[in-house]
Structure formats: C-alpha cells, structure tokens
C-alpha cells in the first residue's frame, strides 16, 4: 500500500523542486531579454536600442565605474580586516568557558540580527561624529562587523573538527604555545583562510543596505546600481543586467555539464 503513495509524494517533491528552481533562476532570462532596453516599457516610443550601444553606455558611465573601483577597494579592505578578526574571534571563543563564550558570541553576531540599514546608520552617526567623513572608510566600518561574524562562524565550524587529543598530547610533551599553534592549530585552520577571504569579499561587494546608509553620496557599485534603478530605466542599467547575468548563466552551464559527465562516468 505504501509503495504507490511514496512514489506519488516523490513526484510531487520533484515537481516542487523544478518549479522552485525555475522561480530562482527567473531573473536571468528576464535580464537577458531586457538587455536591448525599453522593451518592457509601453510608453517608450524610441523602441529597443542595441546591446552594443547599451554596453558602451555602461562603460562610459563615470558614476558606475567609479563605484566599481570603490567596491573593489572596500572589498579588499574588508577582507583584510575580517579574516584576522574572524580568526581571533574563533580562537578566543574556543578557549572561553561556555557561559563567557555565549556572551562574546552574542556580541559578535548582534550586527547580523539587526537590519543592515540600522548598522549603516549607527556606524555613520558615531564615526561622522568623530570626524570621519570618507564614504569608503564608513562603508568598511559598517560592513566589517557583520562580515567578521560570518568569517568567525566559518573558523568555529572548522575548529569543531580539530582533534583535541593532538593538542593535549603536544602540551603534555612540553610543547610551548608557539609550537602548538604552528603545528596543530595553523595547519588545521589554514584551508579555511582562502574560503573565508572569498566569502568576505563576495559579501562586501554585494552588500547593499548597510553600505548605502554609510557611504553618503560616494556610492559603491551595488548602491549606485540600486540608486539608478530606483530613479528609472537607462541603457547603462540594461547593460549592467546583462553583464551581471552572463557569468551566472555560464556557471550554471558549467555545473550542469560537469554533473552530467561525472554521472556518465560513474
């Protein structure tokens, strides 16, 4: 009796997954279709433009290009700040009593539980009050608290799989702290450093809410994009949609093709 029913449930689930994936990937074809511009706007009489023209407009757009440079700068700075912070935070948490660790952990993840806009505003109010007016510096400060919490969680997860008997054995055999760190903690945590760095950069580059409240008029790429989208359609935005969508489409194709080849082999 249970066999056909289970089958039915499995089909239903696969259908749900299919529809879910279609929904999640829907923005990609929309952006590609809109790359020539204005085709979704019935009041526009100029008709769709050309993709080449739009892409030229994107690269000629000084505000967006300035934002791109600023985003890369902020992203690198945030990476350089949050990887050491996350590492230090994870190591400190690892050594504290559970009660003290819970308090410190709560303080560290607090910025993640608060709306990004609030973090950005709080950062901007406090540091502008202390005389820091630079949008880039304020963006770095606003993003770092949230992103350091993410890198710290990555390092904490990695520390969970550390074999504690190794450390105890080393200490029992008289190894000084530097040796324990160099030979036991460092090799175990090292593979996580590039992953944390990539995560930090990606989160920084894509951050919108915290950044926009902190940067003022000196906007990063993402905040300049959103400001322009709010203001209305333009060729540069149509091209940006295409330029943003193509790498994701390529990545999707690569993943699907690789999965198929491994399945054939296996």
């Amino acid at each position: 009796m249970t066999e056909p029913r289970r089958h039915f449930v499995a089909i239903l689930r696969d259908l749900h997954v299919g529809v879910g994936l279609l929904f999640l990937f829907a923005p990609l074809p929309i952006l590609v279709a809109a790359a020539r511009g204005r085709s979704f706007d019935p009041t526009d009489l100029t008709g769709p433009g050309s993709i080449v023209r739009n892409i030229a407009a994107l690269f000629a757009d000084t505000a967006l290009m300035h934002g791109l440079g600023l985003s890369l700068l902020v992203g690198l700075a945030v990476t350089a700040v949050t990887v050491p912070l996350g590492l230090a935070g994870a190591l400190a948490l690892d050594r504290l009593s559970p009660r003290a660790a819970a308090v410190l952990f709560a303080a560290m993840v607090a910025p993640l539980l608060v709306p990004g806009l609030v973090v950005g505003l709080a950062t901007s109010i406090v540091w502008r009050g202390l005389g820091i007016e630079s949008g880039a510096v304020l963006a770095i400060l606003a993003q770092s608290g949230r992103i350091a919490a993410c890198t710290a969680v990555l390092f904490l997860m990695r520390l969970e799989s550390l074999d504690r008997t190794l450390e105890r054995a080393a200490v029992d055999l008289g190894a000084p702290p530097t040796l324990v760190l160099r030979h036991i903690f460092a090799p175990h945590l090292a593979p996580m450093v590039p992953i944390a760095a990539i995560l930090a950069f990606v989160l920084s580059f894509g951050d919108h809410d915290a950044t926009i409240a902190a940067v003022g008029t000196d906007r990063t790429f993402v905040t300049e994009l959103s400001t322009r989208i709010v203001a209305g359609p333009s060729p540069a935005i149509d091209a940006a949609g295409l330029v943003g969508a193509v790498p994701v489409i390529v990545a999707l194709l690569v993943v699907v093709v690789r999965a198929r080849t491994t399945r054939h082999r296996g």
């Binding site: 249970t2 289970r6 696969d14 997954v17 879910g20 994936l21 990937f25 829907a26 923005p27 929309i30 952006l31 706007d41 009041t43 000084t62 505000a63 912070l85 935070g89 400190a92 504290l96 559970p98 819970a102 410190l104 709560a106 607090a110 910025p111 539980l113 608060v114 709306p115 990004g116 806009l117 609030v118 505003l121 709080a122 950062t123 109010i125 406090v126 400060l141 608290g145 000084p176 760190l181 894509g206 919108h208 809410d209 993402v222 989208i229 709010v230 203001a231 209305g232 359609p233 333009s234 540069a236 940006a240 949609g241 943003g244 790498p247 994701v248 990545a251 993943v255 999965a259 491994t262």
Partner: protein
C-alpha cells in the same frame, strides 16, 4: 580569558584579545550605544533666520534630487551629485552653527502623533510574517531534496543550483522582478504587492541553507527502519524528519523574518521609493531627507527592538531557545 594566554602564549594571546576588543567595542558596542544616545537628543534651532536658511537649503536639496532623478546624462548626474553633496555639507554646517542639542535626553524623537510609524511597523511585521510562512512552506521540499541528494552525490548539485541564483547582484535581481511585476513598467508606480515575490526570492536562501545544514547529516536509515516497521509517509515526516530539522527551521524562519523585516533594497527598488508602509523604507526616507539624525536614530532603535522581539517569539514558536543554535548547546 587566562586560558587564551595559556594556550597561545603572552604575545599571541594579547593580539587575539586586542583584535576581539577592537571588534566588539569598535564595530558593535560603540555604534549601537551611539545610535541609542543620538536618538535621545533633539536639536533645537535658536534664531528664526537660521530656521529659514535651513528651509531654503532643504528646498534646494529637494529640487536637486528631483533633477537628479530626471537626468539621464552621467555628466549632468555627476554635477548634480556634487551640488547635493555641497548642499548637504552646508545644511550640516548651518545646523551646527545655529542650533544646539537639547540639554536633557528626552524621548521626543520617538513621538508618533500621526501614527505613521506604528502603522508602518505593524504592516511590515505582518508582511514579514506572511513572507516567512510562505518561504517556509516553499523552501522545505527544496532543502529536504538538496539534503537527500547531497548524501548521494560528491558534488551537491542541487545545493549549488539553489545558491547560484544569488550570484546575481541584489539590485539586478530586484530590477528583473521589477521589470515583469510593475504594472506599468519600470517608469510606473511599483505596487506594494509586487514586493512579495521579490522578497520571497531574496529571502529564500536564508530559509534553505539553515534547513539544509540541519538535515545534511540526517541518517536515512531511520526512515527506512520506520517504513519497514509500517509507518506512513506523513508519520515519518512528522515524527522523524521534522524534529531533526527543527533547529534549522527555527533559524531559517528567524533569518528570513529578519531579512524581510529589515531589507531596504526590496521595498526601495520595487516601489521606486514611493512606498510608505514599509518601516525600513520609511527610515531610509528619513535618513535621506533630513540632516537631523535624531528621528532617524529613533526609527532605527525601534526597528531593532521590534525585529529582535519578533525573532525571539519565532524561536519560542519552534520550542527553541537562542542558545540551541549557538555552538554551545543550552544546559539541560
């Protein structure tokens, strides 16, 4: 505290505590303490002329912003940007010269005589709960299927497929939804309802990943055993799978709720800054249109309190405490 020094030595221990101190004090405690303090200070403008001057600047700023919205030429925009920055600086300078903060901390910034704030707060809370419920139902099968598939495949293809759409920058994702959902195209008014699909799309990842993480180590043999013993599909789900997934569901629900409650990008882009019922958007409009940060700070403090309170309630709903999902489990 001493344990850190014992394990890592004096110099490295000191470095670790220095970094942690800079982080917690500089990036967490100071900004939030400053925010609360600022929300309790009102600005009083002394001479009448200063009030007029500020009014003129505000008018100029508003018209510059309108021009900026209409301008399409990047150079004209850059020029207007410079003008806006100059006017903002002048506004701030005039404020500093002619007005002084209230001597006593007070709650005037929290006053809400027209009920605008409380209405937006309630609307946003309700909408966020609705979005969380829809996302919970919609994402559960996806996360469950991804967790099952990840046990079989070396490359968790389905998980990659679920995360990949977020490789697109958030404003562009929202722009795509805006193109198809806004009733009169991107030039027209975005409707508040067009926010729903966009919010669920952006928030789904916050639901999928925690549920996936809770289920990925799930022992499938439990299901096989239960089935062999004659349990029905729904019974297996209710008695074995759901309890296992509960922490993931609670974290996912809280994260999705916090995202949709606090997100500025979604209501801002989907309504083209014309919405007035979303709390984050209302806060942003405050920040963007006045140099007096006191009211904006008060908005921010209420938003923080409301979202944290609701997140704790959500956890209670799942029968969990916050410590259940930290690396240190609650004491029995």
């Amino acid at each position: 505290m001493a344990e850190v020094f014992r394990t890592f030595g004096l110099r490295l221990g000191a470095l670790i505590w220095l970094l942690v101190g800079v982080w917690v004090i500089g990036l967490v405690v100071a900004p939030f303490a400053g925010l609360v303090a600022r929300s309790l200070v009102t600005i009083e403008t002394r001479p009448v002329e200063a009030g007029l001057e500020l009014r003129h600047i505000a008018d100029d700023l508003a018209s510059a912003r309108r021009d900026w919205e209409r301008a399409t030429d990047p150079e004209r925009r850059a020029e207007l940007d410079r003008r806006i920055r100059l006017l903002t600086d002048r506004e701030r300078w005039t404020m500093r010269q002619t007005s002084e903060p209230s001597a006593e901390p007070n709650l005037a910034n929290y006053a809400d005589p027209a009920g605008v704030r409380s209405r937006a707060l309630l609307t946003t809370l309700g909408l966020s709960l609705l979005i969380t419920a829809v996302a919970l139902v919609a994402c559960w099968p996806l996360a469950w299927a991804a967790a099952l598939a990840s046990r079989r495949a070396r490359v968790p293809l389905l998980l990659v497929a679920l995360v990949l759409p977020y490789g697109l920058l958030e404003p562009l994702r929202l722009h795509a939804w805006d193109l198809v959902l806004s009733p009169t195209g991107p030039d027209g008014l975005g409707s508040a309802w067009s926010m729903l699909p966009a919010m669920i799309h952006s928030g789904a990842i916050f639901m999928i990943l925690p549920i996936f993480a809770a289920l990925v180590r799930f022992d499938r043999r439990l299901i096989d055993t239960a089935r062999d013993l004659g349990a029905s599909h729904s019974r297996i789900h209710a008695r074995i799978v759901l309890p296992q997934a509960a922490p993931g569901l609670a974290v996912g629900a809280a994260a999705t709720f916090l995202f949709s409650f606090g997100s500025l990008a979604v209501p801002w882009i989907m309504t083209h800054d014309r919405g007035s019922d979303d709390f984050a958007l209302l806060l942003w409009q405050r920040v963007a249109t006045t140099a007096d940060e006191g009211i904006a700070a008060a908005y921010a403090v209420s938003a923080t309190a409301a979202s944290l309170f609701a997140a704790v309630l959500l956890f209670r709903l799942f029968g969990l405490r916050l410590c259940d999902v930290t690396p240190w489990r609650c004491r029995p």
